[in-house]
């Protein structure tokens, strides 16, 4: 009987521990980060993850790119970055399309979970105009003045002025190769969208840019061999 009680107490002790309690402090992740919308008035379910992801689609038509996407995406066609050699970057693809579903400012943040589709009321500018990625006012779909998205990470060991070896570390996110998406630079290559952990007080950057937080322009020179 004593052994049984000990076992039961052990199970009870396991049950007592809270996973959310363990996630507090340094490395708190998404909870409390700028991407935690659980307290927004439009989020009646008060969930953290559901603004973007849903475990089952419940027969809704949802963007098919894995990640169980649960937010409306943008249908904008963008003016894209032009490289110095004149090549024009293609339209964004992959997960950057998901980010632009809020950050290009054409889709309501509250167009999610099958609700308010095409009838959003809260837009990125309502949060902070600085969070809108095509920042150009006269051409709202202008991505030509932002770092190219969905661009191949074109490492050439012979190019001393080019990019660093993708095997190099990327802050605390593993290697540069780890933050590429099928070899391409996407929004999430620089921004750790789920976390506050990498460089606190930044726009969710994987490496801080301030010298006081590490190295001046640390994020840029992680990839760029300058």
């Amino acid at each position: 009987m004593k052994k049984v009680l000990v076992t039961l107490t052990a199970f009870a002790a396991i049950a007592w521990m809270s996973p959310t309690a363990m996630a507090s402090g340094a490395g708190a992740g998404i909870v409390g980060s700028p991407h935690d919308f659980s307290a927004e008035t439009w989020n009646s379910r008060e969930e953290v993850c559901r603004s973007c992801h849903v475990p089952h689609d419940h027969q809704r038509d949802i963007y098919e790119l894995g990640l169980l996407w649960n937010h409306e995406t943008s249908s904008a066609t963008y003016t894209t970055y032009t490289h110095v050699d004149g090549t024009v970057q293609g339209q964004p693809d992959g997960t950057s399309k998901l980010c632009l579903g809020c950050h290009d400012g054409t889709v309501g943040i509250d167009e999610w979970d099958g609700k308010n589709i095409g009838a959003g009321t809260v837009f990125i500018n309502d949060f902070n105009t600085g969070f809108k990625v095509p920042g150009n006012i006269t051409n709202p779909n202008d991505l030509s003045r932002t770092h190219p998205l969905s661009v191949a990470y074109d490492y050439d060991a012979a190019d001393l002025d080019g990019l660093h070896d993708p095997a190099n570390p990327m802050g605390t996110s593993g290697t540069i190769g780890d933050v590429l998406e099928q070899g391409k630079v996407q929004c999430s290559s620089c921004h750790d969208v789920h976390d506050n952990e990498a460089a606190p007080g930044t726009h969710l950057l994987r490496v801080a840019q301030k010298a006081s937080q590490g190295t001046a322009s640390g994020l840029c020179i992680t990839c760029h061999n300058k």
Binding site: A15, P19, V48, C49, D57, Q182
Partner: protein
């Protein structure tokens, strides 16, 4: 000889239920966190009876037996002889389109315990297709259907996928020794190390969060997601 995961899960659940019954665990505190839901009558430790999987009063189950739609103590035609769960319900023959990751990796067909769930929840097999009868009358209501259409599991959380814990991956999964609600550890709710339907859904119990039988709450916190996902 290794003990099958379903036996371990079953024993863990029995021990948990006993612990709660004899008052060894912090029942009151847990009731505060997980508590009864909007159904009102579902409190800690009430188990299967009265839950969404209690079909004892269903029209299509004239026997009135609670466990019989899924399990039998005897070998009967509907039983999957490869299943250790004394399965008594017809299984689905569907071949599913499965979850595909951003990098293009496609999940394999569901296996193990998840196949048993899909025997009702994919909508191709009748709820009353169990035991020795040949009933084909009642099908799962739309809100219990998994997938965008029959056979489509592309837009649902991957199932029968390995729980790929890597402590070096700070954006990955949490240590499987961490607790999963009041169901023991994450490891204890994996099916041979894989995430299955029952990893999130406590199919026999409304102990944690009654609807839809979740092991930890989602509303108000996304606690269920963040129990495993290190985000």
């Amino acid at each position: 000889m290794t003990i099958p995961s379903w036996v371990r899960i079953f024993l863990a659940q029995v021990l948990m239920a006993l612990a709660l019954l004899v008052g060894v665990g912090p029942v009151e505190a847990l009731a505060g966190r997980y508590g009864s839901d909007k159904r009102g009558s579902n409190n800690l430790g009430e188990g299967l009876a009265g839950s969404a999987h209690d079909f004892s009063e269903a029209e299509w189950n004239p026997s009135g037996k609670m466990c019989a739609p899924c399990h039998t103590s005897r070998r009967k035609p509907k039983q999957d002889k490869s299943s250790p769960a004394y399965w008594n319900h017809a299984l689905s023959n569907a071949v599913y389109s499965t979850y595909t990751t951003v990098s293009g990796a496609t999940a394999s067909q569901p296996t193990g315990g998840s196949k048993l769930c899909l025997g009702c929840h994919d909508g191709t097999v009748a709820l009353d297709d169990y035991g020795s009868g040949k009933h084909q009358n009642a099908f799962i209501p739309k809100d219990g259907l998994i997938g965008s259409g029959l056979g489509d599991l592309m837009r649902t959380h991957p199932i029968s996928v390995a729980y790929d814990y890597d402590p070096a991956h700070i954006d990955g999964l949490r240590n499987p020794v961490n607790p999963m609600g009041i169901s023991g550890s994450i490891a204890s709710i994996l099916d041979e190390g894989k995430v299955s339907c029952s990893s999130c859904h406590d199919v026999h119990n409304q102990v944690a969060v009654a609807q839809p039988l979740l092991r930890a709450p989602m509303r108000g916190s996304s606690e269920l997601c963040l129990t495993c996902h290190r985000k």
